[in-house]
């Protein structure tokens, strides 16, 4: 049985793993609620349909015993601690369930003084990956139904959490789809690249779901909503769409933790995480900086070195 189990771990993640993680999360959530360390825990509850999960703030022990973790727990919960939900933090210390990529968002938000570490109790999840969009939800995570972003995940083990739920588990030999697609686009002639993005952006309906779901889009007034002067046209038309997506990518440069929530919620299937990844890669190359691995004092675009590359400046 052991030989089989270890083999399974290579090609698929069985429901038993998620059950173990669920147990660990429940135990910890119940404990911190009972001890009144926290006023509530942001986590996942089962969704109404089978095989789904929904984000929730639980404040009682009974509710905490219903918390789950499954491959359907796709949401990045850190967004519930910013923007409209800021009130949650006013009640006192809050527990939060965080996968590796959510942990990067939390660290990024701490970097930007949007969150304080002492206000949080972080239940880290050693996450083997989550479901992609429109796949069969069998309870078992395999190469066929894992999300694109999880194929190249570098943060399966969340760093800096108070407790970690689960043990190390990872799917083996996944094709790095996003890296391959990025390389493909970079290899295109310039005009083709333009055509590629123009086609994608032309479908944008400017629903702003990408902005709404992003933990880093917490500005109370967005530049792109301003109309005096209007920097970015707000209706879903070609020029405004292009400008919006460029501004979005630029504002996330050096901040985005790569949770790919923007891409997941996009109703028009625009590969937004490709842009984020490209910018992250560029900042890694230029300034040796990777966002969200740990809270730092300043992001790469808020600081400078006198000997930064200026080969492009005449």
């Amino acid at each position: 049985m052991n030989a089989k189990a270890s083999k399974n771990q290579l090609t698929s993640i069985e429901p038993a793993y998620y059950e173990a993680v669920t147990e660990a999360i429940r135990k910890e959530a119940v404990k911190i609620l009972k001890e009144e360390t926290v006023v509530g825990v942001v986590g996942y509850l089962p969704g109404r349909r089978k095989g789904t999960a929904t984000p929730a703030l639980v404040t009682s022990v009974e509710e905490a015993e219903k918390l789950i973790f499954s491959p359907a727990c796709v949401n990045n919960l850190s967004v519930y601690l910013t923007k409209a939900k800021k009130g949650v933090l006013k009640q006192g210390k809050v527990g939060i369930v965080a996968k590796g990529c959510d942990m990067r968002a939390l660290a990024g938000l701490m970097t930007e003084s949007q969150l304080q570490r002492e206000d949080l109790f972080i239940i880290g999840v050693v996450c083997p990956g989550v479901y992609g969009f429109g796949v069969e939800r069998t309870g078992t995570l395999t190469e066929a139904n894992i999300a694109r972003k999880c194929r190249e995940c570098t943060v399966h083990m969340p760093e800096g959490a108070d407790v970690a739920a689960g043990t190390h588990a990872e799917l083996a030999d996944l094709t790095p789809e996003e890296a391959e697609e990025m390389a493909r686009i970079e290899a295109m002639p310039q005009a083709e690249r333009w055509a590629f993005w123009k086609e994608h952006f032309s479908r944008c309906i400017r629903c702003m779901a990408c902005r709404q779901v992003c933990p880093f889009c917490y500005c109370e007034q967005c530049l792109c909503d301003k109309n005096r002067p209007q920097a970015v046209e707000s209706s879903p038309r070609p020029a405004g769409n292009m400008a919006w997506h460029l501004v979005r990518a630029m504002h996330l440069a050096g901040r985005c933790g790569g949770c790919a929530e923007c891409e997941r919620v996009c109703p028009m299937d625009i590969p937004l995480n490709l842009l984020n990844r490209r910018m992250a890669k560029e900042l890694k190359e230029l300034y040796d900086y990777e966002a969200g691995l740990a809270p730092v004092e300043k992001g790469p675009l808020n600081q400078y070195k006198e000997d930064d590359d200026q080969s492009f400046i005449k």
Partner: protein
């Protein structure tokens, strides 16, 4: 060779490059009149969105120019701008914009000659490259849909029947298009 006059938009900082351009003027140096100068408090104030806006509104080339490193009136504005524009260039390149149309430079208040050189270089380079159609086309497509609605007599825009050539011959469209290009 293209028979066209490039439109160059220059975003300059008030302390160095603007003074440098002013010096070029008072020294009666000659340089191409294609450049439109916009004065900013500092290169650190120049948001990448300004560059996009310039391209959308018909610029064929954009110049961003400020103080030499170490000479910034606000100590570090140009250093921050340098990082931001390095990242922005990568983004534009990934989207498929020719970076030869976008020039960054350091021109001090004493470098009237360098200002002339930078502007001349960029203007000539853009002249040989020809007009920049990409961003203008996006604006054009917006106009096209507006006029298609008008000619098809629809107010909803959901049922666009007019074809593109028909629309391009519509009175008023050419003027509207010319006004942005």
């Amino acid at each position: 060779m293209h028979d066209f006059e490039p439109k160059i938009v220059a975003f300059v900082c008030t302390w160095c490059t603007y003074a440098g351009a002013d010096l070029a003027g008072t020294s009666r140096m000659q340089y191409p009149p294609n450049v439109r100068v916009l004065k900013f408090p500092c290169t650190g104030r120049i948001d990448p969105v300004f560059i996009l806006r310039a391209f959308q509104k018909g610029a064929d080339g954009v110049l961003v120019s400020g103080c030499h490193p170490g000479d910034c009136h606000y100590m570090a504005g140009n250093f921050h701008a340098r990082r931001r524009f390095a990242a922005f260039r990568a983004l534009l390149d990934f989207i498929g914009v020719d970076l030869n149309r976008l020039q960054f430079s350091w021109v001090s208040a004493a470098e009237g000659g360098k200002w002339v050189e930078v502007v001349t270089d960029l203007t000539e380079r853009v002249r040989t490259m020809g007009p920049m159609p990409e961003f203008k086309e996006l604006e054009h497509e917006e106009l096209w849909s507006t006029f298609a609605e008008a000619t098809a007599g629809k107010s909803t825009g959901l049922n666009i029947t007019a074809d593109k050539s028909q629309v391009l011959n519509t009175p008023g469209l050419k003027e509207a298009y010319d006004s942005i290009s």
